[in-house]
Structures are given as structure tokens and as C-alpha cells.
Symmetry: C2
Subunit: 207 residues, 2 copies
Amino acid sequence: MSAVLAGTPGRREQNKLDTRRAIAVSALEFARTHGLGNFTVDQVAAEAGVSRRTFFNYFHSAEEALTTSTDAFLELAAAEFMARPADEPLFDAMIAALAAIAKTENLSVCGELFRMAEESPELMRSQLHAWERAETRIRQAVNERLGGNLDPLYLLALVGAVLSCVKAAMQVWAAASNAPPADSASELEDQIVGALSMLRDGFSNPS
Amino acid sequence: MSAVLAGTPGRREQNKLDTRRAIAVSALEFARTHGLGNFTVDQVAAEAGVSRRTFFNYFHSAEEALTTSTDAFLELAAAEFMARPADEPLFDAMIAALAAIAKTENLSVCGELFRMAEESPELMRSQLHAWERAETRIRQAVNERLGGNLDPLYLLALVGAVLSCVKAAMQVWAAASNAPPADSASELEDQIVGALSMLRDGFSNPS
DNA sequence: TGCAAAATTGCACTTAGTGTAACAATGTGA
DNA sequence: TCACATTGTTACACTAAGTGCAATTTTGCA
């Protein structure tokens, strides 16, 4: 049997991704139907057709299994940013990149998780940590983009502030889109652009 | 026996504060000597002269017991801000308030925790959550200060960005002050003012 | 087809975290 | 000073989280 050109990243990788996804899906399912503290890892594992031990091979906790969507969302943001042309002004690149993430396929899930987190300290912590990890990655990207040796304070403050704006935008958007009309992506984009504009203006007027 | 004028907040309140502090102290002690994942709640409770069950009456986890210093720090920041005169320009009030928190008594502990968190996901999550709670409180304060009905996006983005700057300042400061000369408070203040200035300028130049 | 690498699983074990009821300490009023 | 009500502490028992390890199954490759 001739191997397909796919090569090294073959069936194994795919299976792992499938398993990971299956676990994440059933975790989300339980969070929706039973509420956030009201189910066990054993249930999630069983639903995903996997042993309890395997669950913990993929995630450290139930909350972490719920954070995959948020992770993907933020990962995409970082990727979009790094794909911007190097000569583009920084803020333009950020706005373009971060606005583009509204295209994430499971955007509505991200909003859902955002709302869930308001009422679950554990999930909140997981989500915050996901944002923190993304911040680190983006910081590296920005640093490389701007020559490599920036003032550390500038770098930390800038990226932190930008992500705070994106977070703020998501929060407003998530709160408003309890019943997502499926095209709400553009609304999120508007919020993000709005928040980043305020940042660029130094929050000079509370319009 | 005549009661002292202290009144209602009597021995009970004081005992609870003492117990709380004792637990926090021994948690920090264990984190320092044994490393962050390498001790149990039972050990901390025993060291604090308290039962395991009582520990959990005060904190949800070992990490939460470590976050008391950070909480106090941020609480003070919020209080300082709310104490600023109402007619002072917003940014001036924030800079004054946030710079004043450098006076926190256990500042060095905060820096220590900041550094510890880099290597412990659990502690990181706890710390991030503490900042998040503080952000909510400060947001309310700012909202009341500015009339009560601000644009939600503006409010979220502004406070988030400001706290990101403070966090950035602390990170730079904590990284630099491995051997704190005990007067490093002013250095932190400088970093905070620096970061907030960048924010006010819209991060226009990466000086 | 057969072998090596890697993933899944079962099992045992420690620790986290919580409900509950008994117990001790504290504040209060006569 | 003595009962009494309130509130904090403790012991106990229990469920579930999370991890190390060795056995087992699955997958990739020659």
C-alpha cells in the first residue's frame, strides 16, 4: 500500500486531534446541559468514548478542556498578526489582524464561554490563563517585528493594553449577543476596532 | 468588666484575621522553602496551628492563600484611587493613586509572588484572577466617578489597559529587583508612571 | 508480516475539597 | 457571675481530582 504524500504528520497526529476534539466537545456539552460545576471528568471521558486516564493525558482539568476554543481563537489572532506585512504600521497591523479573528469558526462558542466564565471562578481562571499565554506569544512576535530589542516596559505595556482592548471588545460583544444572529462576527469586529481606536487616542475622550 | 469602646468588631474579628494571616504566612513559608507544588495543605495547616478543615474555611486552595498579599496590594490601589478628589483629571488621579501603592508594606512579597507565578501555572491563575477582581472593583469606581453612564466599551477598555500597564510595570520591576534594596518602591513607582505615560500617548513612540 | 514506537488503559495511591454534626470559644443579657 | 445564643473550630466520612506505573493495544515502517 503506497503511503499518501501527507507524510510524517499522518494518522497518529490526526487521531490525537480527533480524540482531543471529542473530549472538548463532550466537556462543552456537559457544561451546557448540567451547568459548570455539576459534572465530573469521568462523565466527560465516558461521553467522549475514552478512559478517565486518557482524559488527563490531554487536559489537566475539565476547565482546560473547555478552553480549547478560546485557545484556537487567540492562536489565530497571533498567526494573523504575524502574517501582516512587516512594513505596515504597528497599529494598522494589529487592527487588521485582530479584526480578522472575528472569522473564527466557533466564534459563538467563544462568546458562550466568555459568559459562562462570569459565573465560574475556575473557568475564569482558565480563560485568563489562556489570554496570558497568548499575550506572551504575541509579545514575542511584536518584539521580532520591531527590531528585536525594544524597551521591555514598552513591549509589555503595549501588548497588554492591546489585548485588554480586545478582551473588552469581546466582553461587550458577548454580553450583547445572547442570541447570536450568526452574522455577529462583524459586530465583534466593530467593537475591536472601536476599542483599539480608543487606545490609539490615549483614551482622550469618553465618547 | 467594662467593655472597651472598640465595640462590635471585637475579639472575634481579630482572631479571624490572625488565623487568616497565620495560614497565609505558613503557606508562603512552604512555597519558599519547598517550592511551589511540593507541599500539601495539611502541612500548611499544621504549621499554622490549625486543622485542615479550618484551612479550607479560609481559602479554597493553597494558591489562594498565597494571593493575599497581591489582593491587599490591589485593594489598596483601588482605595487610593477612590480617595482622589473628584475634580482631578482621570489620568492624573490614576497615576497618583497607582503610584501611591508602591507604599504597600509587603511590596517585596508581591514581587516575589510575581516571579514565582512565572513557573507555576496554578499560582499564575490565582494571581490573574486577583487582578481580574480588582479590575471589576476599579471599573465600578471609575464609572461612578465619571458620571455613572459611560460607554461600556470605553470603561472596560480603559480600566483594562491601565491595569495592564501597572502589571507590565510590576513585571519589569519584579524581574529587576531580585535583590531588593528595600527602597525599590520608588523604582516601581517610576515604572508605573512610565507605563501610564505611554498609554496616555497612545504608545506613539517606542522610545 | 513482524517489529519498534507511541497511545490507551487499568490500577493503586495521594491529595483536594466539601457536607455535617459535635465541640469549643466568644459575646450578651440578667 | 452565670446561663444562653452565636459563631468559629474540629473530627469524620466521603467524592472526585490528579498522577505514576506497568500492562496492553494501536499505529507506523521496513
